[in-house]
Subunit: 259 residues, 2 copies
């Protein structure tokens, strides 16, 4: 059974997609086999990994709503051992369509536990969540072993954290008792900026060990890489952004060694 990790935060633009893509790249470089599930109707993770919009006739929508077999939806990416379940705007209607479904919170949970998934031998499944606490994100939390929370070191970012923690607790009580917090990773950090330093200090004070040691700096190479459909590890391996996501992947692997 792979370790299933949701990358979630309802605050927009905090680095969820960037973290999912580059953490996945770090894990596969260390010998893991990884599935990235794009659960955002924007489909940014699919684009960032080079899946052309015309090449997404089967998406996460089909996995959730049409119950298509997972091996018909999963695609290889240009990075060896990194596979993706792509997304496009079809997924936007899934939220409303799932409301009427009696197992609405468990659709992704069940889809990722089809017998065929065992044969694919993934070590990790990373789920890139949309910027909301809608049914799509709830599905991700119910399906996961743990949640990784990117936290931008900006003022508005801290505000949403308590709401997210509340939702995680609700999911743990109602649908997934084993759901843990993998950790909080500080993103777009600018060590010279007073506000960034203050948010980092606040986060470490209130969240303690939940905060990863690795801090992701603001680094332009991270925002350039997806326009070349590459992870930053492939695009510019010596950049500060690549080094940081490599370090984050090693922190994760120390907790969840590849067997």
């Amino acid at each position: 059974m792979p370790q299933i990790i949701s990358v979630a935060n309802q605050k927009g633009g905090v680095g969820k997609t960037t973290t999912t893509i580059n953490l996945a790249a770090g894990l596969v470089r260390s010998g893991a086999k990884v599935l990235l599930v794009d659960l955002d109707p924007q489909g940014n993770a699919s684009t960032g990994l080079g899946i052309d919009p015309s090449d997404r006739n089967k998406t996460t929508y089909d996995l959730l709503i049409e119950h298509d077999p997972v091996e018909q939806i999963i695609k290889p990416t240009r990075t060896e051992n990194l596979y993706i379940c792509p997304a496009n705007a079809d997924l936007a209607s899934a939220d409303i369509e799932m409301v009427a479904h009696e197992k609405r919170s468990f659709l992704l949970h069940d889809a990722l536990r089809q017998p065929a998934m065992q044969d694919l031998h993934f070590d990790f499944v990373l789920i890139d969540c949309p910027p909301s606490l809608s049914l799509l994100t709830v599905n991700a939390l119910v399906a996961s072993n743990s949640v990784l929370v990117p936290l931008q070191t900006e003022f508005f970012a801290l505000e949403g954290l308590s709401q997210l923690m509340l939702t995680i607790r609700e999911v743990r009580q109602s649908a997934n008792a084993a759901l843990r917090i993998e950790g909080v990773v500080l993103t777009m950090h600018d060590a010279r900026n007073r506000l960034s330093q203050q948010v980092e200090a606040d986060a470490r004070k209130t969240l303690g060990d939940l905060v990863f040691k690795t801090v992701i700096p603001r680094n332009v190479r991270l925002s350039e890489a997806p326009s070349f459909a590459q992870s930053v590890l492939d695009y510019d391996p010596s950049s500060k952004g690549a080094e940081a996501y490599w370090a984050l992947s090693q922190e994760i692997l120390r907790r969840h060694p590849i067997v």
Copy 2:
């Protein structure tokens, strides 16, 4: 009747809230009376304008779902002539609760056209939308005369634009024939950065005059201001961020002079 403008883009973290707060501040400094409707369950606009979380017993949720009178929900802010309809996490359930309502797309439209609104003599209503194309954002588009789209000059930001334009067209055809695009404002622009320059060039080529002349630069004073519950115009009037949002408000006022 006030000019009702939605500030919308389903891409997260592109500067919707920052634009709504600071454009509103520029408009009131020019003599307008403005209502800001916080339509995001995160409540960032409410926090950025100093409405304490404990002071939000009546919110936009009550306007939409409980049909409370608008004058019971609207609050003054520390900025003279700037009023707010605050939001909190209650609004997150509105999306699901509205699905069953027969006039689900028109709830905000009707709420902003109550007779009491005439007596309040607002010149502008600005609606801060959440990062999704859910029923909340559809309600904003149906209620509005026009849509202002903040566009971050980053790679992922351009990708979502066609989806947003599609949704605007659908709303125009099905519910609000008069809905226009007020314009696209480039945000967090870094003139030294190649990607930023490229995205600006692409945006002006494909969108032409829809793109405002004013470009909002990346400016740390913009991210600091909300932590002091101030607009950037009050926090640091001589900053590049304040100058840019002042210029944007003047572009808007040239099109919609205060009568």
